[in-house]
């Protein structure tokens, strides 16, 4: 129960009204499966995953003056808004670093336009490289796994884990949210929710 928040508490801590919450739900700004129904002593109540919903509502409140609700819905949906972007534009607009692009080119050959799936892969590679936690050869492994499974993770709540134990590192890609327990010496270096990465990427592109 500690990672869930009741609707009543949510409205209070986020300072929004029932009407707003229902409107956002209607506009698909809040995914259906975040509404978790549980019975309590006062009857049935709705709960939400606390971190996700608070983050989402914060984003909606920040962006709703600049974007229409429909545009916001596009941003939050796991399906792409744009179809492709040129390599030149990517570096010029500072969406990904030149290093990441270079690695991509070495691995896949020179690419001039990127589809949204490719962009996401590139963006993840860049983000992990930027953290300084991942070296170049691990980056190649990341490209491998993301490209190999790009169809299976599409439009789902996929998550990416980057794990290292005693100098040996590997990636885990799950198409659904998963809980992982690891040995004591093992370190989860990075844990990304791909939907959130997609949102960030869409924000950067638009």
């Amino acid at each position: 129960m500690d990672n869930l928040i009741s609707k009543k508490d949510l409205l209070e801590s986020a300072n929004i009204s029932y009407g707003q919450l229902y409107r956002w739900k209607r506009k698909n700004l809040i995914p259906e499966n975040w509404f978790i129904r549980k019975s309590t002593f006062t009857g049935q109540e709705t709960f939400f995953p606390k971190e996700d919903i608070l983050q989402r509502i914060e984003k909606i409140k920040n962006l709703k003056d600049d974007l229409s609700l429909d545009e916001l819905a596009d941003m939050f949906s796991p399906s792409p808004t744009i179809t492709s972007l040129s390599a030149e534009e990517l570096t010029k607009r500072n969406i990904v670093s030149y290093t990441a692009l270079e690695m991509w080119n070495i691995h896949n050959g020179s690419t001039s336009t990127f589809s949204f799936d490719q962009l996401l892969t590139l963006y993840l590679l860049d983000t992990l490289l930027q953290t300084g936690e991942m070296n170049r050869s691990e980056g190649i492994e990341l490209l491998h796994i993301l490209q190999q499974h790009s169809n299976e993770i599409k439009g789902k709540e996929s998550e990416l884990f980057f794990i290292r134990k005693m100098g040996v590192s590997f990636f885990i890609l799950t198409p659904e949210p998963a809980k992982l327990f690891v040995e004591s010496q093992t370190k989860i270096i990075a844990h990304y929710k791909l939907n959130q990465c997609i949102e960030e990427l869409k924000l950067k592109i638009s």
Binding site: K7, K8, E12, S17, Y18, G19, L21, Y22, R23, K25, R26, T42, G43, Q44
Partner: protein, 261 residues
């Protein structure tokens, strides 16, 4: 199928046609269409049976039609009866007779003047019901306006909800900005006339949870009502009320617990 030369089909009497792309499809007797069909105008004055999907600009059904697949249309009027085994997607749909949809109903303007039964979800900008509606799933709209009888098994979620009750109305949950529920005040003899046939049933809304910014209720039975400003009118039986700003209670309402948050 060549796109440049669009053909029409007109079936008067009884006939069978293959699917494909057409400009106009008119049925004046009974028709059987074997596969998917795409056209600009679909008009059925008799009975039509389509063994596939249909995509059309405008559709008018004055008789009866049965579609085994999905239906997509810009504008659709049903004056007779229509059964759709799949989903119906239509910007403007007007159901004046009766219709059964086994999938979802999606549209901008959904007007029901007869009876409609939808097994899936309903979503639209405007849902306007004078008659009877049954929804198996959720119903979402910017404005939901009902003068009549409805049963929604899931959540009724709309910006403005305006309900005039007739007989037993039911929704599992209701949520929105403005929610108004009133008893139908019909001065003409029409209601008495109906009641003569269907028996004396009280007008009442039953819901488990009603949540909104401004909630005004009459003759409503609910477990929980939550909102900013709440008005509880006559005939209400409510187990628990949670309100933020104001609560007005009618003396003929039965309310269990009430709490200001």
């Amino acid at each position: 199928m060549e796109k440049t030369k669009q053909r029409n089909i007109s079936i008067s009497g009884s006939g069978t046609a293959a699917g494909g792309e057409y400009d106009q499809v008119k049925v004046n007797g009974s028709a059987h269409i074997n596969s998917d069909i795409q056209c600009e105008v679909f008009k059925c004055n008799g009975s039509a049976h389509i063994e596939g999907n249909i995509k059309t600009g405008t559709a008018k059904v004055n008789g009866s039609s049965h579609i085994e697949g999905n239906m997509e249309a810009e504008e659709m009027t049903i004056n007779g009866s229509t059964d759709i085994d799949g989903s119906l997607t239509c910007s403007e749909v007007k159901i004046q007779g009766s219709s059964n949809i086994k999938g979802d109903l999606k549209g901008k303007e959904i007007i029901v003047r007869g009876s409609a039964s939808i097994k899936g979800n309903v979503s639209g900008d405007e849902v306007d019901v004078k008659g009877q509606v049954k929804v198996g799933g959720d119903c979402e709209a910017e404005s939901f306006y009902a003068r009549g009888n409805f049963k929604i098994n899931g959540l009724l979620n709309a910006g403005n909800i305006d309900i005039e009750l007739l007989r037993l109305c039911e929704a599992k949950e209701i949520g929105g900005e403005n929610i108004t529920v009133k008893r139908n005040i019909d001065s003409s003899g029409f209601k008495k006339f109906i009641k003569f046939f269907i028996g004396q049933q009280t007008d009442q809304l039953t819901a488990e949870v009603i949540e909104g910014d401004h909630v005004s209720l009459e003759y409503t039975h609910a477990k929980v009502v939550r909102g900013n400003t709440i008005e509880i009118g006559p005939g209400c039986v409510i187990d628990r009320i949670e309100f933020k700003q104001s609560l007005e209670l009618d003396e003929n309402a039965k309310v269990g617990a009430q709490e200001k948050i």
